[in-house]
Amino acid sequence: MTAPLADLRLHHTAIDAIRVEIDGEIDLSNADQLRERITAGVDGARRVVLDCTDVRYMDSTGVRLIHDLANNLTTNGFELVVTAPAASPAGLILAIAPPSGVAVELS
């Protein structure tokens, strides 16, 4: 069995705020699973920061993941912020095809 494409790191930054760091690659083979893991991981938080600094590959599948995630969270009144360096693989795609309804902060 090959190693998972991406790992998640969860940091509670405040009592109801979580930073989720994605480390690895996001593609069609792991997007659904990632979304489920993130959704489960952030349960109970009001503010979620999705840190894509360590995403080494991401295409529109990843954008859709964020989009779907935002839909799930915001319908429950939560706030989702996505951060990534502008020159990173995630920054590249997020700049061209930003997911609707999500605050994207490129550094």
């Binding site: 090959t2 690659e25 069609l28 590959y57 295409d59 529109s60 599948t61 954008v63 795609i93 095809a97």
Partner: protein, 668 residues
């Protein structure tokens, strides 16, 4: 003697009727008499002595001392040893001395002497001289025989150990003259009917004579009809023997069963005849030479059979793929008679990987070649079933143990040409040499037990990622144990030589490496080697089943391909993104529609104007509208970042092509 009274004077026969005078008896005795007076000079000599030394009596008596007739060393010996004996003991006997005759020649003699004290108390020395020419000649003959016997023993030993006909010829040329008391000696071997001196090309002097003789009728006759003696005086040989008008040559044939395989010749100066024992000695030596030549022939035949068997068992073809350049080399031991059990093989597995194995069966000859053959066959069957090199060697180990194949070593490596991952494992074998395209040389470590006895624990794979242009060298220990060097010296030397040849293609590299190392000294053992290089292709072509997991493989191949073409990270990201989008479309949409087991193909070509031409192709049919949903984003991205975008949809699939200009960053 019991009862005899010694004090009683001996009875002396009555000689009154005897006519021979004492004077005559003195003068004509069968030995020389010399009396040295107390003054030191000769007082009297007899005629026999005068005849022996060739002086007149008047030249001796009262004029010379006896010691003056001796050679210089003889005189010293006389003064220091013999005269003290005469003065103190009163006599000496059987002294071998040389007298110098009037004509300056030497007369070997035996001398007895006694001191006589005269009435006045003076010492007079009396010498009896016996001619010893015959005896001396006999002694010298004995010495010569002994020297000849010693040389013969030396020659026999050399013949016994000779490993080539040239070595036989050299031994005869060098030691033969002393054995046969000849001026020269040579052995000529029949070579396709022609007589030939195998050492002639390396020698001068007498070998030239031998070569000249080889063409002569008399030697040919001796060669054909048996032992012969003849005079050589023709211009042909004279040209080689300057200033020598006449030579007598003896020739004795070398017989192997009923065939004459050569001829032994010995040459004598015209005046110096061959000693009587020479022909007998020559026949003896000729017999030894024939036996040795027979042995060499048998060894050569056995070696040829082993070699033939081994080569029949070694693969005739190299299995590889276009992006991997592989060549194999083999060289039998230079000095050894029997070939070894070195083997190698190359494979292309169904999953696209390529594999290489090299092994060394301990032992030599036909048996080792047979074991090698069975190991190679077994490995060919086991390797495709193995999970990797370590597992393949483990399986081979079990086979070798259960089938009783003796101690042997092996080394196996498998390469994924797409990712560049090289996995390897050893079984008591010298380390693989990695020649990096970046100019490095590294031995890949990871020693493990040889194929001997039961297997104790599983081997483990090691791995290293190869870049385009990297080459690995698998070899047997003959390559690094040359000239009985210690193995670390051998490895250092191998790395140095390989480093200098790294620019060559695998085939040329293998050939040149063997040549270079062979030039430094003969190979004591067999050498087999495999050189495998990952070629830098400007085109990348990946075919994968259209499943989500294929995306990762495609990215890895693309990353590797870009890195080794020095394509900048930003451009690589762009290519990854666009290819990833299109491939995802193909997987998600193309095949979800048909449920067919589809394929996806990605092809990238880098052109000279630093442009990557990309093509992503599938054999499915997109089922949703092209401008909506996530796929719409993919195509938007493509139009945004790619150039020359072209989308072809046909009944058998979809092909999207585009170009991306790239920046190339020189390697650090």
């Amino acid at each position: 003697m019991i009862g005899a009274d010694r004090s009683e004077p001996e009875a002396w026969p009555d000689l009154s009727g005897y006519t021979e005078s004492a004077e005559d008896l003195y003068e004509n005795a069968p030995c020389g008499y010399v009396t040295n007076e107390a003054s030191g000079h000769i007082g009297r000599v007899n005629r026999r002595f005068v005849d022996l030394v060739g002086y007149r009596a008047t030249e001796l008596v009262g004029r010379r001392r006896f010691s003056e007739l001796l050679t210089k060393p003889g005189r010293v010996f006389y003064e220091t040893h013999l005269r003290p004996l005469l003065d103190n003991v009163g006599a000496f006997t059987e002294m071998a001395l040389d007298l110098v005759a009037a004509d300056g020649t030497r007369r070997p003699v035996l001398v007895n002497a006694a001191t006589h004290v005269d009435d006045l108390g003076r010492s007079i020395y009396r010498f009896v001289i016996v001619d010893a020419r015959e005896r001396r000649a006999y002694e010298q003959e004995l010495l010569a025989e002994r020297r000849s016997a010693e040389r013969l023993a030396e020659l026999s030993a050399t013949i016994l150990q000779a490993d080539s006909s040239a070595a036989l010829a050299n031994a005869v040329a060098e030691l033969g003259p002393a054995v046969f008391a000849a001026r020269f000696a040579a052995v000529l071997f029949s070579d396709g009917g022609e007589l030939r001196d195998p050492a002639a090309s390396e020698m001068v002097g007498d070998a030239e004579i031998a070569s000249a003789l080889a063409g002569r009728g008399e030697v040919l006759d001796a060669y054909r009809f048996g032992r012969a003696s003849f005079d050589v005086a023709s211009c042909e040989v004279e040209s080689c023997i300057e200033g020598e008008a006449r030579q007598t040559v003896w020739a004795v044939p070398l017989r192997e069963a009923r065939t004459i395989i050569g001829v032994l010749v010995a040459g004598y100066d015209g005046e110096r005849a061959a000693p009587a024992r020479a022909p007998r000695l020559m026949e003896f030596v000729a017999l030894q030479l024939a036996v040795a030549a027979h042995r060499l022939t048998l060894q050569a035949q056995q070696r040829a059979i082993s070699l033939q068997l081994q080569q029949a068992l070694l693969p005739r073809t190299i299995n590889s793929i276009p992006s991997v350049d592989v060549a194999a080399g083999y060289r039998p031991a230079t000095a050894s008679v029997e070939v070894g059990g070195d083997w190698h093989d190359t494979y292309v597995f169904d999953d696209g990987r390529v594999g290489w194995v090299i092994g060394d069966v301990v032992g030599h000859g036909i048996e080792a070649a047979a074991v090698m053959g069975s190991l190679r066959s077994a490995f060919g069957a086991l390797a495709p079933l193995a999970s990797g090199p370590a597992d393949a060697l483990d399986k081979l180990h079990d086979f070798a143990h259960t089938s009783g194949c003796d101690f042997s070593t092996a080394c196996c490596a498998m390469l994924d040409p797409v990712t560049g991952e090289l996995r390897y494992a050893y079984a008591g074998h010298p380390p693989i040499l990695l020649l990096g395209a970046d100019g490095t040389t590294t031995f890949l470590d990871g020693a493990a037990a040889p194929l001997y006895g039961p297997r104790h624990r599983p081997r483990t794979d090691r791995s290293v990622t190869l870049a385009a242009g990297d080459a690995v060298l698998l070899y047997t220990d003959g390559l690094v144990e040359q000239g009985r060097r210690c193995i670390s010296d051998g490895l250092t030397r191998l790395a140095r030589c390989a480093d200098q040849l790294r620019q060559l293609s695998a085939d040329r590299f293998t050939h040149q490496l063997l040549e270079t190392l062979a030039a430094e000294g003969p190979f004591g053992d067999d050498v087999a080697l495999l050189c495998c290089r990952l070629v830098a292709h400007e085109r990348l072509c990946i075919g994968r089943p259209a499943e989500p997991t294929a995306l990762r493989d495609i990215r890895q191949a693309l990353r590797w391909w870009c890195r080794h073409r020095s394509i900048s990270d930003a451009d690589q990201q762009t290519l990854q993104l666009l290819v990833g989008e299109l491939a995802t479309n193909s997987i998600e949409h193309g095949h979800r529609a048909t449920d067919a087991a589809g394929e996806i193909m990605v092809e990238l070509t880098l052109t000279n104007d630093d442009t990557v031409h990309a093509r992503v192709e599938d054999n499915g049919r997109w089922h949703d509208a092209p401008t909506t949903g996530r796929r719409g984003w993919g195509l938007r991205l493509l139009r945004h970042m790619g150039h020359d975008v072209r989308i072809d949809r046909t009944a058998i699939g979809t092909r999207v092509s585009f170009t991306v200009p790239v920046r190339r960053v020189p390697p650090r």
